[in-house]
C-alpha cells in the first residue's frame, strides 16, 4: 500500500516539477500557482504515504536508503513550502521541485519493501535523531538551491550579459537572505541532530562519540556551516562567498547522507542499500 502511494506521490512531484518548469519558461503567474497547488497535493499524498508506512512497518520509516530518501524528499518539500509562503519565487520552486523529484526517483530505485527493524534502532531516539538531522539537511538543500541561483544571477549582473533567466530570478539580496535564513534555521537543527545522535549513542553503545565515518563527516560538515555562520555574523561574509560555501556544504552533506553509507562501512551502515 505505502509503495503504491509512494509511486503516486512521485508521479505528482514529477508533474508539479514539469508544470513549474513550464511556468518559468513561459513566465506566467497563474501556471506557477497551479504548479504550487500540485506540489502541495503531492506533499499531502507523500505525508499519507509516510503515515501508512509507519503503521505497516511498525517503526518510523527512516531505516533504509529508500525510506531515508523518501523522508528527506518529504522534509525538503515541507521546508520549501514554508519558505515559499514568505518569499514567492517561481524559479526557486522549479529548481526545488526538480531536486525533490530526483530524490524520489532514486528512492524508487532502491528496494522498497518493509522489513524487520534492526533491534539497535528500536528506540524513541530514532525519529528524534533522524528527524532533526534530515530537517537540517532539507533546510541546507534549500540554501543550496538559492546559492546556485545566486551565482547565476551574480554572473549575469557582473558580466552584463543577460539571459531570459535574469528577469525571472529574484534579486541578489533576496537570494542571499534565503541563504542566511536557511543557515539560521539549519544550523541549530543540524547541531541538535548531532547532539541527539551522541546522546542516543551513549544510551545504546555506552559512548557519545565513536568516530564512525558518518559521525566524522557530519562533524566536518558542521564545522563548515559553523565557519560560514561565524563569517557572516562577524566580518559580513555574504553574497558570492556565502553562496559558494552553501554549495560546498551541500556536497559534504550529500556525502555524509549518501556517500558514507554507500562507500564507507561503519556503525550507521544499516541504512545501506541492502536495507
Amino acid at each position: 500500500m505505502s509503495i503504491l502511494l509512494y509511486k503516486v506521490a512521485l508521479l505528482m512531484y514529477a508533474l508539479a516539477t514539469l508544470m513549474s518548469l513550464v511556468a518559468v519558461v513561459r513566465n506566467r503567474g497563474n501556471e506557477g500557482r497551479r504548479a504550487r497547488l500540485l506540489l502541495l497535493v503531492a506533499f499531502s499524498v507523500h505525508t499519507v504515504t509516510l503515515v501508512v508506512r509507519y503503521f505497516e512497518a511498525g517503526y518510523t520509516p527512516v531505516t533504509n536508503l529508500h525510506e531515508s530518501l523518501s523522508f528527506f524528499a518529504w522534509a525538503l518539500a515541507g521546508v520549501f513550502m514554508l519558505l515559499d509562503m514568505q518569499i514567492r519565487m517561481q524559479v526557486m520552486a522549479a529548481a526545488t521541485a526538480t531536486l525533490i523529484t530526483v530524490f524520489m526517483l532514486f528512492g524508487s530505485l532502491m528496494p522498497m519493501h518493509t522489513q524487520e527493524l534492526n533491534p539497535a534502532l528500536d528506540s524513541f531516539w530514532l525519529p528524534i535523531h533522524v528527524g532533526l538531522a534530515f530537517m537540517g539537511n532539507a533546510v541546507f538543500t534549500v540554501a543550496f538551491v538559492a546559492a546556485i541561483l545566486y551565482l547565476i544571477q551574480e554572473r549575469m549582473l557582473k558580466s552584463k550579459k543577460f539571459s531570459a533567466l535574469h528577469y525571472r530570478l529574484p534579486s541578489l539580496e533576496t537570494l542571499d537572505r534565503i541563504n542566511y535564513r536557511c543557515l539560521k534555521f539549519g544550523f541549530p537543527l543540524m547541531t541538535m541532530g548531532i547532539i541527539s545522535g551522541a546522546v542516543w549513542a551513549e544510551s545504546a553503545w555506552g559512548t557519545y562519540w565513536s568516530w564512525d565515518p558518518k559521525e566524522s563527516w557530519a562533524l566536518i560538515t558542521w564545522f563548515l556551516y559553523a565557519a560560514l555562520l561565524h563569517g557572516r555574523l562577524t566580518v559580513g561574509w555574504r553574497g558570492r562567498r556565502a553562496a559558494i560555501f552553501a554549495i560546498i556544504g551541500f556536497f559534504f552533506l550529500l556525502f555524509t547522507f549518501l556517500g558514507v553509507n554507500l562507500l564507507l562501512p561503519g556503525l550507521h551502515s544499516y541504512s545501506s542499500m541492502a536495507g
Binding site: L157, K158, L169, G236, R240
Partner: protein, 437 residues
C-alpha cells in the same frame, strides 16, 4: 456597414504636420459634431495625440466616407487636400479593425509597449460618447479594442522591461537589492542625466539622497529638491560606505573613484552590495571597480546595451501580440457579419413569404369549390415548401457567419434575390426568431 480609418502618425508625418492636424481637446466636440453631420458617416471617433491623429468611422459606403473625412480634415485645419494626402493612410474593413487593435495594444507606438496610448484612446471614446457620435458598431469596436489591449498586456511581456537608461538603472537596482525602498543614493555631480536618474530612484522609494558637487551651492539646491543632504565634494569618499547606490556624472577627466576606495567602503559596510552607475563621459569610475566582490558597476554603454536588448525583446513579444490580434479580429469579424447575415436572412424570408402568400391567394381564387380542409392543406403545403427551401441556405449562412466568411454569400443573395435590407440595431432581435426555425 463598414469600418474605416483615415489618419496620420509619427510614421507618416513629421511633427510640423502632426501639430497642425491635431484636434485640441476643446475642439474635439465641435469636430465630432461636424463629422456626424456628414451624410455618409454613421458613427465616428476622433483619436488625437501628439503622435497620431486618426478618425475612425462606420459608414455604409466606406469609399464615400473616406473621401468625406479626408476633405473634412483638410478643411478643418485649412490645409490643401493634395498636400495632406501625402501623409495620410487609409484603411478599411478588416485592415481598419486590425489597425485600431494594434494602436490600442501599443504595437504601432514610437516606443512599442508604452502604456499611454490606451488611455488616450479611452479619452477619445469618452468624447465620442459625450457627443453621442458613436452607436452600436463603434461601441462594440472600441470596447473590443480595449479588451484586446488588455489581453496583449497581460498575456505578453510587451511592456516588460525598461526602455530608457534611467529606468534600466532602476530595474538593475531591483535585481541587486531586495527593494529600492530604504536605500541611500549618492549623486556625484549635478548633471541633468544624473538628476533624472535620481528622480526615478526617489520615486521608487529611495530613503535618502546625498549630493556631492564641485560647487557646493549647486549641491545644496539639488539636495534640497530631493530633501537629502549635501556633502563636500572633497569628502565624498568618506561617505561611500553609507550609500547603496552611486550615481556619477561629473565633468572630471580622470577616474574619481578607484577600486581601493570601494574596497574600503565595502569593508566598512560589511560587504553589503553596492551599485555604481557611471553616466559620465569620460567615465568617472575606474572600470576595475566592477571586479570588487558585491559591487556592480554599469556605465552608459552598458545601460544603453540593456535598453537596446529590451527594445528587441519587445519586438519579439510584439509577434505574439499580433497573434492575439489575429484571433480577436476573427471574432470581431464574426460579429460584424452577423450584423449583415441576420437582416439578410430576415429579408430573404420576408420576400419568400410575400411570394408564397401571393401564389396561395392566386391558387385559391382559381379553385372555387375547395372546402376548408383543402384550403388549409394548400396553405400548409406552401409554408412547408418555403421552409424546406430556406432551411439549407439559412444554416449555411449561419455557419459561414461563425467562421466570418459570410460576406460573399450575403452579397450574392442580395444580388440574386434583389433583397432590401436595413441594418438597424433592432434587427438583432430577429436573430432569435430566425434561430427558432
Amino acid at each position: 456597414m463598414e469600418i474605416f480609418v483615415v489618419g496620420l502618425s509619427h510614421k507618416t508625418a513629421p511633427v510640423s504636420i502632426r501639430e497642425t492636424v491635431a484636434f485640441a481637446p476643446e475642439h474635439i466636440g465641435d469636430a465630432l459634431g461636424q463629422l456626424k453631420k456628414l451624410p455618409c458617416i454613421a458613427e465616428v471617433v476622433v483619436v488625437s495625440t501628439c503622435n497620431r491623429v486618426e478618425i475612425y468611422a462606420a459608414a455604409d459606403y466606406a469609399e464615400e466616407g473616406i473621401e468625406a473625412v479626408t476633405r473634412f480634415i483638410a478643411r478643418y485645419h485649412g490645409l490643401d487636400v493634395e498636400q495632406l494626402s501625402k501623409h495620410l493612410y487609409v484603411r478599411q474593413g478588416d485592415d481598419a479593425v486590425r489597425h485600431m487593435f494594434r494602436v490600442a495594444a501599443s504595437l504601432d507606438s514610437m516606443v512599442v509597449g508604452e502604456p499611454q496610448i490606451l488611455g488616450q484612446i479611452k479619452d477619445a471614446y469618452g468624447y465620442a460618447v459625450e457627443y453621442s457620435s458613436v452607436g452600436l458598431i463603434m461601441n462594440r469596436f472600441l470596447h473590443k479594442a480595449f479588451s484586446v489591449a488588455k489581453r496583449v498586456r497581460t498575456e505578453t511581456n510587451i511592456a516588460g522591461n525598461a526602455v530608457s537608461v534611467s529606468f534600466a538603472a532602476v530595474e538593475l537596482a531591483r535585481k541587486i537589492f531586495d527593494s529600492i525602498e530604504g536605500k541611500t543614493v549618492m549623486l556625484l555631480g549635478a548633471g541633468e542625466m544624473c538628476e533624472l536618474a535620481a528622480r526615478h530612484f526617489v520615486s521608487n522609494g529611495v530613503k535618502e539622497v546625498l549630493v556631492a558637487n564641485r560647487t557646493f551651492a549647486r549641491a545644496q539646491t539639488l539636495a534640497q529638491e530631493f530633501s537629502g543632504r549635501a556633502v563636500l565634494f572633497e569628502n565624498f569618499a568618506d561617505h561611500l560606505h553609507q550609500v547603496d547606490i552611486v550615481l556619477s556624472s561629473t565633468g572630471a577627466t580622470n577616474f574619481i573613484i578607484q577600486p581601493e576606495q570601494v574596497q574600503n567602503a565595502l569593508r566598512q559596510r560589511k560587504q553589503k552590495p553596492m551599485f555604481f552607475i557611471d553616466i559620465a563621459v569620460p567615465r568617472d569610475i575606474d572600470p576595475r571597480v566592477n571586479n570588487v566582490g558585491n559591487v556592480y558597476l554599469y556605465d552608459v554603454d552598458d545601460l544603453q546595451g540593456i535598453v537596446k536588448a529590451n527594445m528587441d525583446e519587445r519586438q519579439k513579444e510584439a509577434i505574439e501580440a499580433e497573434e492575439i490580434i489575429n484571433q480577436e479580429l476573427v471574432q470581431f469579424k464574426g460579429w460584424m457579419s452577423s450584423l449583415e447575415v441576420v437582416p439578410t436572412i430576415v429579408a430573404l424570408r420576408q420576400k419568400m413569404e410575400r411570394l408564397r402568400q401571393r401564389e396561395v391567394e392566386k391558387t385559391l381564387r382559381q379553385i372555387k369549390n375547395l372546402d376548408d380542409q383543402g384550403r388549409r392543406a394548400v396553405e400548409a403545403m406552401s409554408q412547408a415548401l418555403v421552409n424546406k427551401i430556406l432551411h439549407q441556405p439559412t444554416t449555411g449562412l449561419k455557419r459561414a457567419q461563425k467562421c466570418a466568411t459570410a460576406q460573399p454569400y450575403v452579397d450574392v443573395l442580395h444580388e440574386l434575390f434583389e433583397l432590401e435590407v436595413e441594418t438597424a440595431p433592432g434587427e438583432m432581435k430577429k436573430i432569435d426568431q430566425v434561430d427558432q426555425d
